[in-house]
Amino acid sequence: MQSEVPVTTQRQSPGGVSANANSLFDGREGDPAILKHLANRIRMTAMSMTNHAHLGHTGGDLSASDVLAVLYGGVLQLDPQQPNWPQRDRFLLSKGHCAAALYTALAMRGFFETALLRTFMDPLSKLNGHPDRNKLPGVEANTGPLGHGLPIAVGCAIAAKMRGETWRTFVLTGDGELQEGSNWEAAMSAQQYKLDNLIVIVDRNRLQQGDFTENTIRMEPLADKWRTFGFAVTEIDGHNTATLREVLSGAPLEVGKPTCIIANTIKGKGVSFAENQPAWHHGVPTEEQLRKAAEELEAEPVW
């Protein structure tokens, strides 16, 4: 497979239906401050869901929320009315344990009722602890075991090239997750097939399940790792919605190469007691902590 369809910035948008019908993302997402507030609503909702389920992955939800707000708040070409619109951009949450944040972003974009979020992990709920595309519109891949997203994303990006289509594929991975070798297999194939329609975002929060990444398995020099695997790489502040929006909209960084965006983040971002605390990987907030979080985030859950 060596066909080369140039990725242009002129991409198709979903025919007919407004992309943002029923969406909480209401067209003002160009404003980084509004995006920031929407990100905080994702945070607050995800924490409320974790509190509801007594289970979840708070730290990683919070570190990824700005990326999700920026993606679903405008960067991704999607049509919630036609979740399987063939030319949609693909977003894959490889760090599937942060399903609560993804579900919230999908609901905010209008893929389903926000009320559904209240069923997180309930018996027979469509909102499993890890995303299931057979249950919910908008979910692209059933993730949960780490290291599955990037290989699938590579397949999506190759498919777009094969079909001569210009949609892009975004995949969000954890940083600890990159210890899985499957990612490096996928990275090598992405560069070989010159997948400049593939954008990997690494949620570089420097923590994994049990400890800091560098205490567990050192990931640095992470940007150089990706470069030697053939990616165009940039490192940005993963909580700066303006930068995120600019870089994600503008990707690829380089024609003919897959893009890797290392989003430097803080695990537990925005909630003082959770920030940078290993235990908040899967910490569950109490009612009290929820109130504190709402204050600090200046946000209410979207449900």
């Binding site: 990006a157 297999e185 194939s189």
Partner: protein, 338 residues
């Protein structure tokens, strides 16, 4: 059970074999030719390989459809993931590699990305069983059926010859959902007619008989037919069923065999535990009343010693003679004692 038209009429009476064994062929040729044909009529069809262009016999495909041919290198996990993404992106991928590596190395991807996700991806496990012979147990896939058949949503097919390989490929192409096809490189005699159509969940009746039922798939089917000939000469009429459809499985065919014959012998190129024989045992033990005895032919709980595929099949009694012996043991010889 699929009853081919030619023998439907005479189904109930023991008969001379309707299927005779034709010239031997490597099923990989039928596999690759069919894939090229499917790609010709369906632009979604594409192939994914792991540095296995020649062992999957896909040089022709690669030459004809280079833009729909993906070689991910030596990386089976990625291979299955890429297949999943291709399906998500609207393509129809056939993911092809040595069965030993495809199943074992990518087991979690097969479970999650295919089975759980229900991706429309076709896995083609090449050179399965002990086909790699002397290359040894690392290259054998004697557990692949036991492993894949317990993955929900995954269809599992073990074609018996070139015609059925083609039929299974066409079925895989026409039917939505994840599938595992197990394709040998051990040359096997042709059995089924050109144009044979694969029906999921249906045993293919190859020969009628009421003394013993022989159930086999893959490389063992022709051997079961040979065994049936030899048994006939001894006065034992064997029903021969090709159990190519491992999942879904033809439960009624097993129950019919339990009612209509005095013993069942299964034969497969894999472990005795958990495979074809295991499925038949589960059905007999849970659903049959007064089931006749079952003999499961396959590998005991060991890795194979060094030897060619042919040698190893012989070594483990996976031969016409092995099937005959097991049958006689079960239902006794009808020949007058000398």
């Amino acid at each position: 059970m699929v009853t081919p038209p030619e023998i439907a009429a005479e189904e109930s009476q023991p008969s001379a074999p309707t299927y005779t064994l034709g010239p031997k062929a490597d099923c990989r040729d039928a596999f690759s030719q069919t894939l090229v044909e499917l790609a010709g009529s369906d632009p979604r069809v594409c192939a994914v390989v792991n540095d296995s262009v020649s062992s999957t016999k896909l040089k022709g495909f690669m030459g004809k459809y280079p833009e729909r041919f993906v070689n991910v290198g030596i990386a089976e996990q990625n291979m299955v993931g890429v297949g999943t993404g291709l399906a998500n992106g609207g393509m129809l991928p056939f993911v092809c590699g040595a069965s030993c590596f495809l199943t074992a190395r990518a087991m979690e991807q097969v479970k999650v990305d295919l089975g759980y996700t229900r991706s429309n991806v076709k896995l083609c496990g090449m050179s399965s069983g002990m086909a790699y012979g002397q290359l040894g147990p690392t290259h054998h896939s004697i557990e692949d059926i036991a492993w894949t058949r317990v993955i929900p949503n995954l269809t599992v097919i073990v074609p018996a010859d070139a015609a059925e390989t083609e039929a299974a490929m066409r079925f895989a192409h026409a039917t939505d959902g994840p599938m595992f096809l197990r394709i040998s490189r051990v040359p096997v005699p042709s059995i089924l007619p050109k144009g044979h159509v694969f029906e999921p969940g249906k045993a293919v009746l190859l020969r009628e008989g009421h003394d013993v039922t022989l159930m086999a798939n893959g490389v063992l089917v022709s051997r079961a037919l040979e065994a049936a000939n030899a048994l006939a000469a001894m006065g034992i009429e064997a029903r021969v069923l090709n159990m190519s459809s491992i999942k879904p499985f033809d439960e009624p065919a097993v129950l019919a065999a339990a009612r209509g014959t005095r013993g069942i012998v299964t034969a497969e190129e894999g472990l005795r535990a958990g495979g074809l024989g295991g499925i038949v045992a589960e059905i007999l033990a849970t659903k049959a009343r007064n089931a006749p005895p079952l003999r499961i032919l396959g590998l005991p709980d060991v890795f194979a010693p060094t030897g060619t595929a042919e040698f190893l099949l012989e070594h483990f009694g996976l031969t016409a003679k092995g099937i005959v012996d097991a049958s006689v043991e079960l239902v006794g010889s009808k020949l007058p004692a000398r």
